[in-house]
Subunit: 239 residues, 2 copies
């Protein structure tokens, strides 16, 4: 620090700092003392999260009839969900061009939060009859099992012949890469809305589920009403 | 999609999709219906967070004597906090070289979580007598005021003459930039541990506070025991 022109900082010796503290050979005993207290703290933390999850579940049960009523109202608004999705920048980025038309048939969503004592969630997507898939409902379920291990369950999508959107997107992606690699498997493309149902990896964040649960589901009309020329303040004025 | 060889997807007309749905001129009435239900949901959500914050506060009060006891045990371990900080990669990156020696004198930390109904937190840093600062305790307080506006309060650090670490780091940073700009104010340097006390901007995440509250404070011995050659699994074995 001499180049700064400041007085040199007096470096204390190790012995100065250790005065009155525990020699290294006695540390295991100190760690044991620490551990007794830490275990008590862990137990309180577990009790606290157990109580809080139960309360959240109770409040979610109170919310359910209102959420169902909200869904019925939303059904009266044309193309509500695809509009809300496309107005959410992070969600819009996850929807491939080929998926947009199919999502016009998305008639209802229901997010079940906190479905078990391990703070899971389940999202149901209801589709009206459409040229793409046989399923009326597809579901994605994220939960914790036993000691908190994250688990995922997803519906298998029954695409109608020739309308497998993932196949179509994958092929477009493969064709866009030149030169194609003969004999090699078609490369993976970026995650998209429907590929999310195929992705059962728990090592990464469940992005679409979290956007839905924590942002869109809170008040989806806010997103529906957003457009490129409006901001959240205008929306508040509007409703 | 014709280049993929897939059958063309039948694009439905707007009129197909809107069959049975509400014409645009009737949408304001639908939005009003929506808003009544959404208001009910918002009230339930507010009640729920109020209840949850009260429960968290109660559990924090139960934890307090154990946390104080843990702090007394930690005081027996030489250079506990600086070691724990330097073993936490994100925290270590925020500590400037010039700050390390001063942090050897950090004798205790206390994180008060959930100190008011707006989910604030306060972190107290206790220092033993040292060549750098007059303060025995410096505090950083993050809380929400009134309608949830985030607020910050920080202790003013009384540096001893010639030992103002922020001045020393700022000067080193300015000297490292060539050519120096005469007449220009000394440029800002990256956030460091002590500059955090000067930074009262609420527009960015309170990173150091959140690392302390949500990671280190949960079980600081885990970080103290980590070294470059150990991982979390070894630590669990060790204690």
């Amino acid at each position: 620090m001499s180049d700064t022109g400041e007085p040199p900082v007096k470096k204390l010796k190790k012995s100065d700092l250790d005065a009155g503290s525990t020699p290294e050979e006695n540390l295991p005993e100190v760690f044991r003392e620490y551990n007794i207290v830490q275990n008590a703290l862990n137990i309180i933390a577990e009790q606290s999260s157990g109580v809080i999850i139960r309360i959240e579940c109770n409040y979610n049960a109170i919310k359910t009839p209102y959420l169902e009523q909200r869904n019925e109202i939303i059904k009266k608004i044309p193309r509500f969900w695809i509009t809300a999705f496309m107005n959410h920048p992070k969600m819009a980025a996850l929807i491939a061009d080929e998926e947009e038309d199919c999502l016009n048939y998305l008639s209802a969503i229901f997010v079940e939060d906190c479905i078990d004592p391990y703070n899971g969630y389940r999202v149901h997507f209801h589709f009206s009859p459409n040229p793409y898939m046989e399923n009326e409902v597809i579901t994605r379920n994220y939960y914790h099992h036993g000691e908190g291990v994250p688990c995922l369950l997803s519906s298998v999508i029954n695409w109608k012949p020739g309308y497998d959107l993932l196949h179509i997107i994958r092929r477009r992606y493969a064709l866009s890469r030149s030169p194609p690699q003969p004999g090699r498997p078609v490369p993976l493309f970026r995650q998209t809305f429907f590929s999310w149902f195929d992705d059962l990896s728990t090592s990464v964040k469940d992005t679409i589920g979290e956007i839905l649960r924590d942002e869109i589901w809170i008040n989806p009309l806010q997103y529906y009403l957003l457009s490129e020329h409006e901001n959240a303040v205008n929306v508040v004025d509007c409703i």
